[in-house]
């Protein structure tokens, strides 16, 4: 019954334990890693349970939805939990491989766990204001991580990140207020029931647009994505992998949840807007990636470009396209995180990630090259790797809707993605130069590569064993769009009031 709160409490208590522990050491490291593994295990358990059709509902404080906050874990939420905990585990392990205990920043572990707590809460919560709180936990933890290990050069790129997200938070808070006035409630399920009859009320339209702006900032949609590409490259590699994998996808998840479960499905203009913004994002961001000449910069822009694909899929708004979006999210989180980590290994080996000054990696470290090739081609959507299936379904859904222009844009963006991935490959892996050192002398890069290899195996499994994943995605999409089932489950929790029902 209390399972939905476990992925939130575990990181919280881990963070607190790490705080009290003080200095990093082997003991603290094992504790954090153990907890991360436990979180993953719990999340996988939730996935298994929700696959059987269950929806976990937990009224916190034993209050039903109309009094308190409920946590609702359906299949999509459980999937997202599993992915976030997986990436967090990889990030933790990679960080351990990357640096010795004494060099570890003591606050990184607690802050990372707080970040995971915020992310997981976002996926579990069934309440709009609680979502705001979850976002704030996540955001403030991300600010803190962004400036934690910054030097004087990095620090200034945190400023636009913080500024834009502060503005976004103010808008979100206002949107919460407007929602409460309009529907008299903050609970997703209740909003869904009360909003269903007002699909042609312009106030609902305005609210939907405001929410698109708010979550578009988090997701990184075209005119709102500026905070991302210059700030992510200043992060330490393991943290940037976690950010790259999860933070923007939180925005996409919330867009899915809001437009799939909470708001009425008839808001066609909002869907069209999302589709168009998605199209613009994928094209303009991939151009930004081509304009960059260092790995982390290219990858940062690619996050946005891929967000474009996902949001385009939401915008098409058919059960198939929503499934495509979910499939794409699953693929993207794993692939993007591992690409950042691979970039980190390459940086460590070459001493830089400036493509002009890299090289020799394919010759010296073929395994790393194979991993990169796998993930880069997957990102570009080449079959039969994991990125292809989502893209394929998006193309299918787009053609079904006769959105030829958007399909063409997505194809173009894929080609450009391939181009920029080849740019990294040619620059870092194939270029042969006597002046570029490849420092393979220590064992650490092997351990780092091993972590990446683990993630790559997951992504390969997603690609080659697509059947299972596609089925799960379709299932998750169907459940996401089934507003009544969600509402019944969420409002079915009676808690304390069960014994003496109140009229």
């Amino acid at each position: 019954m209390n399972w939905p709160v476990a992925p939130i409490l575990l990181p919280l208590f881990t963070a607190l334990a790490a705080l009290f522990w003080g200095r990093p050491g082997v003991g603290r490291r094992s504790l954090v890693a153990g907890s991360a593994a436990a979180q993953l295990a719990v999340s996988l358990g939730l996935v298994c349970a929700t696959l059987e059709g269950r929806i976990f509902v937990l009224g916190l404080g034993a209050w039903p939805a109309r009094f308190g906050i409920v946590l609702v874990v359906d299949l999509l939420s459980a999937l997202m939990l599993a992915l976030s905990t997986l990436v967090a585990l990889a990030s933790v392990l990679y960080a351990y491989a990357e640096s010795p205990t004494r060099a570890e920043h003591p606050l990184r572990a607690p802050l990372t766990q707080f970040l995971v707590m915020g992310i997981n809460l976002t996926f579990c919560t069934g309440d709009l204001f609680n979502l705001f709180v979850a976002f704030e936990i996540m955001l403030i933890a991300s600010y803190a991580l962004l400036t934690l290990e910054a030097d004087d050069w990095d620090i200034k790129h945190a400023f636009p990140y913080v500024g834009i997200n502060l503005f976004g938070s103010a808008l979100f808070l206002s949107a919460c207020g407007l929602t409460y006035a309009l529907f008299g409630t903050l609970n997703f399920a209740q909003i869904a029931l009360r909003a269903a009859p007002c699909a042609d009320d312009p106030r609902l339209w305005v609210l939907a647009l405001l929410l698109i702006v708010v979550f578009g900032i988090k997701a990184g949609l075209f005119p709102l994505y500026y905070w991302l590409p210059n700030s992510y490259p200043t992060l330490p590699i393991p943290t940037s992998a976690l950010f790259a994998g999860m933070l923007t996808k939180v925005g996409v998840y919330v867009l899915l949840r809001i437009f799939g479960t909470v708001l009425p499905h008839e808001l066609a203009f909002a869907h069209t807007l999302l589709a168009v913004m998605g199209g613009a994002t994928m094209l303009l961001a991939v151009m930004g990636a081509i304009a960059r000449n260092f790995i982390r910069g290219i990858l940062s822009f690619h996050i946005l470009s891929q967000i474009g694909f996902m949001v385009l899929a939401i915008g098409l708004f058919t059960p198939l396209s929503v499934a495509a979006c979910i499939l794409y999210i699953i693929h993207h989180i794993v692939v993007k995180s591992s690409l950042f980590l691979i970039g980190g290994v390459a940086m460590r080996l070459n001493g830089t990630d400036d493509l002009e000054r890299m090289g020799n990696l394919w010759k010296r470290t073929p395994w790393l090259g194979a991993l990169f090739l796998c993930q880069a081609l997957s990102l570009a959507g080449l079959p039969p790797l994991s990125g292809f299936w989502g893209k394929y379904l998006i193309v299918v859904a787009g053609l079904e809707q006769a959105q030829y222009a958007l399909v063409a844009v997505s194809i173009l963006a894929s080609i450009l993605t391939l181009f920029s991935m080849v740019k990294i490959w040619n620059g870092a892996f194939w270029t042969g130069s006597d002046r570029v050192p490849v420092r393979t002398s220590d064992w650490r890069w092997r351990a780092m590569t091993a972590v990446v290899a683990g993630l790559t195996c997951v992504s390969l499994a997603i690609g080659l064993g697509a059947e299972g994943v596609v089925q799960i995605a379709i299932e998750a999409a169907e459940r996401l769009l089934d507003q009544h089932a969600y509402a019944d489950a969420a409002l079915g929790f009676l808690g304390k009031t069960a014994a003496n029902p109140i009229p």
Binding site: V5, L16, G22, L60, A62, H105, P106, K496
Partner: protein
């Protein structure tokens, strides 16, 4: 002369500190029924500490306090979270509260004691802790004192880091717009 005045001032501040804290406690306890609560009480208490620091100085206060307010905040968060998690042991939902009604208490009359109060005390501790920590840290740092004592530095920073109160690195000091040396 001035010694006497400062002594009186310090004594007055101490008295005020005591009074404000009692008031804060009162706010905390009555919060469930009348305006008040952990957050308000915590801030009041923190402001009292700030007053005290003005009177006796930050260094002196640190000697008197002898503990890290940040730890207090973490303890408060832990207390709130544990209070919330306790019902899990009995298979009840997270954060469910239980309570008991006490009557005939001196000073307060009747009092409602419940786990909600423990939760509120957690909030109180967090607020006092972090308000003090950030005020004192910023206060010390802006006065070009070391913001963190050695033990705190060990706990909150990596060995390769240095306090910011010192002169910033050469590159930033000269001109922020010069390209970094690795490019030129």
């Amino acid at each position: 002369m001035s010694g006497l005045r400062s002594y009186i001032f310090k004594a007055a501040v101490r008295l005020l500190f005591f009074l404000v804290n009692v008031f804060a406690l009162y706010l905390l306890l009555r919060g469930h029924n009348l305006p008040g609560g952990g957050f308000i009480a915590g801030l009041a208490s923190a402001i009292a500490l700030v007053l005290l620091s003005l009177a006796i100085g930050l260094e002196e206060l640190h000697r008197v306090m002898r503990f890290d307010p940040m730890r207090m905040a973490a303890a408060g968060l832990a207390m709130a979270a544990v209070t919330g998690a306790a019902p899990l042991l009995f298979g009840r939902p997270f954060l469910e509260h239980f309570d008991a009604h006490l009557t005939g208490l001196p000073l307060l009359g009747e009092l409602h004691v419940g786990t909600a109060l423990a939760f509120d005390i957690g909030v109180f501790l967090v607020v006092v802790g972090i308000a003090c920590k950030i005020m004192f840290a910023l206060g010390k740092s802006t006065q070009r004192l070391r913001a963190l004592v050695a033990e705190e530095e060990r706990r909150y920073s990596a060995p390769v880091e240095q306090p910011i109160e010192e002169e910033p690195p050469i590159r930033a000091a000269t001109n922020p717009s010069t390209p970094s040396p690795h490019v030129s």
